[in-house]
């Protein structure tokens, strides 16, 4: 069972991420501040989970563990690339840093990584929610929760397409579209639905891998 601090940090990052994705809708300066905060939380998250690094080279690599390790490695790379590219492109907070002659490349990184990162972070969260899901079986109305999850995830597929994720993730859209003045609530609802969709897929994946590992 994770310590309260670690849970708090994880929830904080989860809440801040859709805000970050909203970019100009919350304001560019706010985006840079939230990005900086998430970067710090990410670093603390890794310090608190440092035992994972020690164990990486030890023990048996089951399919479940391979999946987790690959996912975590990808996320680690993304969560360095994203803040660093953001800092180097900073317009409000880090303007003391000289502009490097690679802004176009940095921008491309800062454009593709967040959408992959958002999806994979949701999966990452989902894989770690499996124990929680098991506990929920004992909850009063597990079917309601399950149905709600299916419905929200279903909407998440629609939101995933509507918000342009396929274009951003494939690199066919290289410039983010924001409808200036768009109300924030629908934006967040869409992004939360996408998060629920991929978290659910993550939990499902963890469950299937767990079962697969057990039957070996």
């Amino acid at each position: 069972m994770k310590s309260r601090l670690r849970i708090f940090l994880d929830i904080a990052m989860t809440v801040l991420m859709p805000l970050l994705m909203a970019y100009s809708l919350v304001g560019e300066t706010a985006h840079e501040i939230i990005g900086s905060v998430i970067f710090i939380l990410f670093i603390v998250h890794h310090i608190l989970n440092r035992k994972w690094y020690g164990a990486v080279c030890k023990g048996r690599y089951t399919p479940r563990r391979i999946f987790q390790t690959v996912l975590n490695t990808a996320l680690f790379v993304f969560m360095i690339l994203q803040p660093v590219s953001g800092i180097l492109l900073s317009k409000h907070l880090y303007t003391f840093i000289p502009i490097l002659p690679v802004t176009a490349a940095l921008r491309s990184v800062h454009m593709i990584v967040p959408y992959w990162g958002y999806v994979l972070l949701s999966v990452h969260a989902g894989t770690h929610l499996l124990p929680l899901m098991s506990k929920m079986k004992k909850a009063p109305l597990p079917q309601v929760l399950f149905c709600a999850d299916i419905l929200i995830s279903g909407y998440g597929v629609y939101a995933f397409i509507k918000r342009g994720f396929p274009g951003y993730m494939s690199g066919s859209t290289m410039f983010a579209f924001f409808n200036a003045g768009e109300p924030l609530v629908p934006f967040f609802l869409d992004y939360i639905a996408v998060m629920v969709l991929f978290a659910s897929l993550g939990t499902l994946t963890a469950y299937l891998l767990h079962k697969f590992t057990k039957t070996r």
Binding site: I99, P101, V102, T103, A104, G167, F175, F177, A180
Partner: protein, 241 residues
């Protein structure tokens, strides 16, 4: 080395701005672009409606070339995003379509010196620096006499999510003249859409009526001109042209 060039450009821009300010004084210099013969009715305040009255003509003494609409645009050639090396800018293409359909005059915002690179990556760096510095690069030439126009279309590519800084020079230097008019923004982009051009224009020129803008994909402007022309015409029709 690049920084030296930027500093020199900025200094040159500053000198130009100061010179322009000194020469122009408080009023407008008379335009050399498209001098119209009758200017009498233009002295009255514009109606403030978004475009529907602009060309219907309260003007009985108009010369055939008279136009109450102006299209101001900033556009780059050279290597641009996804279109390769072009010799006519995406925004210029759209600007000309608007002028063709409305009979408007055209005026291009040109930088006073040659400091915008012709390669995409280098241009992106320059644009980034200008934005971070909140620069006001100077444009060359004199703006047409804005008192002759009721409606001004203003277009540019989206650079780092905003108007290129040179447009802010244009807005600020002509703020009073633009203030009572209908301003209609249009952008060329590769995904950003209008990118808040309308709101930003409204903030830069308080008192102006900002019309509904049009966003055109740069690649479409370059390679799918018939389709873009159709979109432009539909948009203009909605605006009352």
């Amino acid at each position: 080395m690049k920084h030296m060039k930027n500093i020199l450009s900025a200094l040159l821009a500053l000198v130009m701005i100061l010179t322009l300010a000194a020469c122009a004084g408080g009023g407008q210099t008379s335009g050399t672009v498209a001098e119209t013969e009758s200017r009498i009715e233009n002295m009255t305040a514009p109606s403030g409606k978004t475009g529907s009255d602009t060309l219907s003509g309260t003007d009985e003494t108009a010369a055939p070339s008279e136009s109450k609409t102006l299209v101001v645009y900033f556009s780059r050639t050279g290597e641009q995003y996804t279109v390769g090396v072009i010799d006519k800018g995406n925004t210029a293409i759209v600007a000309e379509m608007i002028a063709e359909k409305t009979g408007a005059d055209l005026w291009e915002v040109l930088p006073v010196d040659d400091h915008y690179p012709m390669t995409y990556s280098a241009l992106t760096d320059v644009a980034k620096k200008e934005q971070n510095d909140n620069a006001r690069p100077a444009y060359k030439g004199t703006v047409p006499d804005l008192s002759e126009y009721d409606t001004v279309f203003i277009g540019a590519p989206v650079w780092w999510g905003d108007w290129p800084m040179i447009l802010y020079t244009f807005f600020e230097q002509n703020r009073d003249a633009l203030g009572g008019k209908t301003l209609i923004p249009f952008s060329t982009h590769e995904g950003s859409g209008l990118s808040g051009f309308d709101r930003k224009l409204g903030s830069a020129v308080p008192g102006a009526t900002v019309g509904k803008g049009l966003a055109v994909r740069g690649n479409d402007a370059q390679n799918r001109q018939d389709s873009v022309r159709e979109s432009v015409n539909i948009w203009l029709k909605e605006l009352g042209f």
